[in-house]
């Protein structure tokens, strides 16, 4: 399946500092259509019918989320654009914001109308501080042109990967430590300040204006049964052309990695970041969709010179440092797992660890409060399955018999 630009339709086409270039490309026409020709319920129905699901990794149906918030009986509601893109190997939202800040603003205003929200927020990671001006300018120009009467506030993070998780993000906006909340209640019922809140990934929102303008039918024709539309991927590692690529859902990993990013002698690909799958070259024809493998679209390619233990060690190091510490399975589990993998990394692995790792992985997967702890074991389990030889090579002299 081919490359197709839906989310990236304006990137490198418009001038991100000049709203006129956006208006010339049907900018704010979707908002106008939604407000003038559709009821909020009709907007939600359109988004539901499109089959659009969350692009931040969890894949929750977007229209359903909006509907739940719309039906919540509270005077004040909020919309949040999650621009806290911290996943290891992900930079697609940075690319989107750098090149087309206007579409995000328009989408937030449409979401606000559909849900009946008081206010919208864009929560931007601190590492993207230099994008604040661009976003501020986009909001200002949209207001000056009379295109935007929806209140949007920019909030900047302060360096915490876990704040990309929706409940931690809301705690961070509330000025607190960005720790995970227990769920239920879910954000559409009790979110920011315990009021109904819709929180969507930047990429998810970017799909809204074209869905409103072109209709749900246009959108749902693209993709697979469970995965409609396109997905934007961030490709890095051992490739000749690293960068951002947008493909129709269901395209193969081979097309992305070999044809577009021009990787050679691929040994493995990590899809989905630090908690993502590690797929061996034998699985290069896997399709990229919610049904198979997707995440937030981080794709890190490793060639034949690479060792799976490096991938697992760097992933665990990341997760152990970024765990918020609220729940024990994640706080303690990431540390213990890191200690064990650290032994292999230093060539001091022990054979008995190979039995302990799957047990620990299962506890973390089942008992952690959020995606961080639940997915930390994923690269460990995959590497044990597909690259067990790499572990065997790292069992130390005192590490017991090779098994």
């Amino acid at each position: 399946m081919p490359e197709k630009k839906v989310v990236l339709r304006n990137c490198r086409v418009i001038d991100p500092r000049q709203i006129d270039s956006y208006l010339a490309r049907d900018g704010f026409q979707a908002l106008k259509k939604a407000r003038d020709e559709m009821t909020p319920e009709q907007v939600i129905a359109e988004v539901k019918a499109s089959g659009l699901r969350g692009r931040g990794g969890a894949g929750f149906p977007c229209g359903l989320k909006w509907e739940l918030a719309r039906k919540s009986q509270e005077a004040e509601k909020y919309i949040i654009a999650n621009a806290d893109e911290g996943e290891m190997g992900t930079f697609k939202d940075r690319y989107i914001l750098e090149n087309d800040p206007f579409s995000l603003i328009e989408a937030l205003a449409i979401a606000g109308y559909a849900v009946g929200a008081e206010k919208g927020y864009i929560y931007l990671r601190a590492e993207y501080h230099n994008l604040l001006d661009l976003l501020t300018n986009a909001i200002k120009q949209a207001k000056q042109k009379g295109r935007l009467d929806f209140d949007i506030e920019l909030r900047e993070g302060a360096g915490a990967y876990v704040c990309g998780e929706e409940t931690a993000l809301m705690d961070s906006i509330e000025g607190k430590r960005g720790e995970i909340r227990y769920r239920p209640p879910y954000p559409p019922t009790k979110g920011l300040w315990q009021r109904p809140t819709v929180i969507n990934n930047v990429e998810t929102l970017m799909n809204i204006p074209p869905i409103i303008l072109n209709g749900a039918g246009w959108f749902s024709k693209m993709g697979t049964a469970e995965s409609k539309g396109t997905k934007v991927f961030s490709v890095s590692g051992d490739v000749n052309k690293p960068g951002v690529y947008e493909l129709v859902m269901g395209s193969s990993l081979r097309e992305l990695v070999a044809a577009l990013a021009q990787a050679e002698r691929v040994r493995m690909v990590q899809v989905g970041g630090a908690g993502g799958r590690i797929l061996p070259y034998a699985m290069i024809d896997t399709s990229l969709a919610y049904e198979s493998v997707l995440g937030a679209g981080a794709v890190i390619v490793l060639d034949e010179s690479r060792d799976a233990i490096d991938v697992v060690y760097k992933s665990l190091e990341f997760m152990a440092e970024e765990s918020c510490g609220k729940c024990a399975p994640c706080r303690e589990g990431t540390e213990v797992m890191m200690e064990i993998i650290g032994r292999f990394w230093r060539g001091e692995g022990e054979a008995r660890d190979l039995k302990i790792l799957p047990e620990l992985a299962e506890v973390m997967r089942l008992a952690s409060l959020c995606g961080l702890g639940q997915t930390t074991p994923t690269p460990v389990i995959d590497s044990l399955q597909y690259f067990s030889g790499d572990y065997q090579n790292k069992i130390g002299a005192k590490g017991g018999a090779r098994v």
Partner: protein, 142 residues
């Protein structure tokens, strides 16, 4: 929670960020002062101040160098960049130069993986680095 309390609560992180920006770090005194102004236990303010990696409770240099050590930069040999910075400013990650010009830290993914290896100095991202570019880049930060 009333609207007034909400505003105070949300102000905590904002004020800590402002103080970090102004003083370069958050001293115990600063944290206590902010907590008092917002009618909040000092422990709560301290908890927030120590949660985020862009907030520091120890004095930092005028310029903070953050070298990305996550997998995509690891694959592009970030260690080479770290060594080069160590050679230029004579300190290791976690340290600050005696003249207070630089603090040097390792950090997790900064979202510049397509241009790895990458570092941040203050808010500026420098990418596609090679060791020989380091000296010239550092020269711009006084």
């Amino acid at each position: 929670m009333s609207k007034v309390q909400e505003t105070k609560q949300t102000d905590l992180l904002e004020r800590l960020k402002q103080a970090q920006h102004r003083y370069g770090y958050l001293s115990e005194k600063t944290i206590a002062r902010i907590a008092k102004a917002l009618d909040m236990p000092i422990g709560e303010a301290y908890g927030v101040a120590t949660f985020y990696s862009f907030l520091d409770t120890k004095p930092q240099g005028r310029n903070i160098i953050r070298v990305c050590k996550s997998l995509p930069c690891f694959l592009k040999d970030y260690q080479m960049i770290t060594d080069s910075i160590e050679g230029e400013i004579g300190i290791k990650p976690g340290e600050t130069t005696p003249d207070g010009r630089f603090s040097f830290q390792l950090t997790n993914c900064i979202g510049a993986c397509d241009k790895a290896p990458a570092i941040m100095i203050n808010s500026d991202v420098h990418s596609d680095l090679t060791p020989d570019k380091i000296a010239q880049i550092l020269r711009a930060y006084k």
